[in-house]
């Protein structure tokens, strides 16, 4: 086994460990917001490590780059999806685990992107 193959195997094993952590988090975390963290952070790091480990073994640079290209796509996509799901859960009044106040926020008008007022940005 060459050093490159050993490094690749190490990266693959680390990636699988992060996938396992993500699955455990999805099963064990108390509410939907925390589960989003497990899904979009741990699993994407696992995918990145596996992609890196496989790209090291690619027979030519183009194939390796294509494998590495998968990772940014998944990162951007999962960031957008987790933001959309968390915002929707917040709009529907789902409380984080441990939160006490039962008052759900009023749902905004349908189909409108809500923009933060300029005064709140500072």
């Amino acid at each position: 086994m060459t050093p490159l193959e050993a490094l690749s195997a190490l990266l693959l094993l680390a990636g699988a460990a992060f996938y396992l952590a993500g699955t455990v988090g999805l099963l064990r975390f108390p509410d939907v917001y925390a589960r989003l963290h497990a899904l979009t952070k741990a699993d994407n790091l696992g995918l990145g490590l596996i992609a890196l480990g496989l790209a090291l073994q690619a027979e030519n640079p183009a194939a390796g780059l294509k494998i590495l290209l998968v990772w940014p796509l998944v990162l951007v996509a999962s960031a957008a999806v987790s933001f959309a799901i968390a915002r929707r859960a917040h709009e529907l009044g789902i409380l984080p685990a441990g939160a006490e106040s039962p008052a759900p926020p009023a749902p905004p008008p349908e189909g409108e992107a809500r923009i933060m007022p300029p005064g709140d940005r500072a």
């Binding site: 693959l12 996938y19 989003l36 899904l39 796509l73 999962s78 999806v81 915002r87 929707r88």
Partner: protein, 94 residues
């Protein structure tokens, strides 16, 4: 090709099976959808690993992984923006 690819792909599939427990339990529709999104991320990992354990079909499987990543994102956004409507309705809302 280190010989690790096929066992790791199997390991990721076992992870997917465990995530089905969350899909069965809920309690909100989003929790079930999270299991579906996990199929996207983990499925991409499985496809990349399989592309390297079988050299002959390497590039088509990487293309498939790209398409799967894109479809999972579209499904998630469509769920959050359109399908998930009312709180309290535990089932059948999504």
């Amino acid at each position: 090709m280190t010989g690790l690819e096929a066992p790791l792909a199997l390991f990721l599939l076992v992870n997917l099976l465990a995530a089905l427990i969350r899909a069965a339990r809920g309690p909100t529709p989003a929790d079930r959808m999270l299991a579906a999104l996990l199929f996207g991320t983990t499925g991409v990992g499985v496809l990349l690993l399989m592309a390297h354990s079988r050299e002959a079909v390497a590039m088509p499987l990487v293309d498939t992984a790209l398409v799967l990543a894109l479809l999972a994102a579209i499904a998630g956004v469509a769920f959050a923006r359109r399908a998930w409507q009312a709180a309290g309705r535990d089932d059948d809302a999504a």
